[in-house]
């Protein structure tokens, strides 16, 4: 019997990025959104950002690259003055926003350029593929998103895209890939819709359809690899190592805790989707501390030193994945949020998300390699 996978044991001392929630508000109401409280504008006080920066600025001195990702809600709904005030305490970091683009105009583009912000958009393809992205009146957001894209192009600001696919199937993949190459993004991440947070839509799909989607997407990228394609390139990176007999070297040795700071300073680790909940049965709000009372470095160190509560349960689940799943070397174990929201516990193992986004992804790439 071979030794078990050796990556993803323990937690790194210095993460590579943090996610910040400048406001809970989103001006859209997408059908698959996982965020609670997105209809209300609960803004992050500057004191929270200052507390986070107190740790992050020290972390940033210790690593080549550190990112602060302003996520949401819709981060631009916080307004440029408040977002600037939240960013002001940080030193030596890259700033990123993940935005729905509907508020992006010339003024925001100037803001992005002035603050050297890397921009990621959320867009699911042409109008009929983006139909789940709507406002609170149910009106499609597509044309407002495109106006934002046009503003970015006018200003020469490069942008990445995260695309949610709710109905993965082979014939969709090439259409989507061609759309995004023509849109002008330089990077694309593809998320199969997840059942998590307040989104309880079913995410089970026929295996062959999902594998076919990934296989076709692989073919589309290889035929025209002008944009970075997260899923396919990561898969090929892993499979290259597997071909060399080095599959166990791909995962980081220790896990990045991905600290996520909610608007009120509460911190969740490992799964940003756990932020913002108050009363999960048996687990409470998932928060592991609050930066207004405990330094972020202390929160991360305490969890790394002595995992307790849901984190200990999650680590048990990771070890169960390690012991049982052939794909562990690729993914490092099911995400905490997917375990909880799909299966009700953190020590459960294989989720629909694992199947759709990790297992069938690798299998689809291998299918393409075998000409299937």
């Amino acid at each position: 019997m071979a030794a078990p996978w050796t990556g993803m044991r323990g937690v790194v001392d210095v993460p590579s990025y943090v996610l910040m929630q400048p406001t809970t508000l989103c001006n859209l109401d997408c059908a698959y959104c996982y965020l609670p409280h997105r209809a209300s504008d609960r803004r992050m006080p500057v004191a929270v950002a200052e507390a986070v920066a107190d740790t992050v600025n020290r972390w940033a001195e210790q690593v080549e690259r550190f990112s602060v990702v302003w996520h949401g809600g819709e981060p631009l709904a916080a307004g440029p003055e408040h977002l600037a005030a939240l960013m002001a305490p940080f030193r030596g970091v890259e700033h990123h926003v993940q935005t729905n683009a509907t508020l992006v105009d010339d003024a925001w583009c100037e803001f992005f350029a002035q603050h050297k912000i890397e921009v990621g958009l959320s867009l699911d393809g042409p109008p009929d593929r983006t139909a789940l992205r709507v406002d609170r009146a149910g009106r499609p957001a597509y044309h407002r998103i495109l106006r934002g894209v046009q503003a970015l192009r006018r200003h020469g600001i490069r942008f990445a895209v995260i695309c949610v696919v709710s109905d993965p199937r082979p014939d969709l993949a090439t259409e989507l890939y061609q759309y995004f190459t023509e849109l002008g993004c330089y990077w694309l991440g593809v998320n199969i819709e997840e059942r998590e947070g307040v989104n309880i839509r079913d995410n089970t799909h026929a295996a062959e359809a999902v594998r076919g989607f990934w296989a076709e997407l692989t073919g589309a990228w290889l035929a025209d690899p002008r944009i970075e394609l997260r899923e396919v390139e990561w898969s090929l990176h892993y499979l290259a190592a597997a071909l060399r007999g080095e599959a166990d070297t791909v995962l980081p040795r220790r896990r990045d805790p991905v600290p996520t700071i909610a608007h009120d300073g509460r911190v969740v680790l490992f799964s940003p989707e756990l932020a913002g909940f108050a009363d999960a049965p048996g687990y409470g709000d998932f928060a592991l501390g609050n930066v207004l009372t405990t330094g972020l470095a202390g929160i991360v160190a305490a969890v790394a030193r002595q995992p307790a509560g849901w984190v200990a349960e999650y680590f048990d689940g990771v070890e169960r994945c390690r012991a049982s799943c052939p794909y562990f070397g690729f993914c490092g174990g099911a995400h905490a949020s997917n375990r909880y929201f799909e299966l009700g516990r953190f020590d459960a193992t294989e989720t629909e998300h694992c199947r759709n986004t990790k297992i069938r992804l690798l299998e689809g790439v291998l299918d393409h390699a075998q000409g299937r």
Binding site: M1, A3, P4, W5, S16, Y17, R65, V69, E94, H96, Q98, E118, G120, R158, A160, I162, Y186, W187, G189, N191, E194, A206, A207, E208, L222, P225, E228, R230, V232, E233, W234, L236, H237, L239, A240, A242, L243, E246, A247, L251, P252, D256, P272, A323, S324, C325, P326, Y327, F328, G329, F330, G332, R355, T357, I359, L362, E363, L366, A369, Q370
Partner: protein
């Protein structure tokens, strides 16, 4: 077992060595071996594309990150490289 479930992922499995790590009845490793010819060509193509991309970034003075794949692969891994 569901009809559409991948045979390699449902039900109890041996502690896996994973692809490239010899282990008993490791379905992923077997899949990689079976696909090695086509896979090798795809990997070569991808690595050439990534080298070109890094060179282009260098020519325009952009940071040339050499840690392309060191961050975890999650849905929030949206850092430009």
């Amino acid at each position: 077992m569901r009809k559409d479930a991948e045979p390699s992922v449902t039900g109890p499995r041996p502690a896996s060595a994973g692809a490239g790590r010899e282990g008993p009845a490791d379905p992923l490793a077997e899949r990689v071996r079976a696909a090695a010819g086509g896979l090798g060509r795809m990997v070569s193509r991808a690595e050439a594309v990534q080298r070109e991309r890094a060179d282009a970034a260098g020519r325009r003075g952009a940071p040339r990150w050499t840690d392309v794949f060191t961050t975890q692969f999650t849905e929030f891994s949206n850092r430009p490289r």
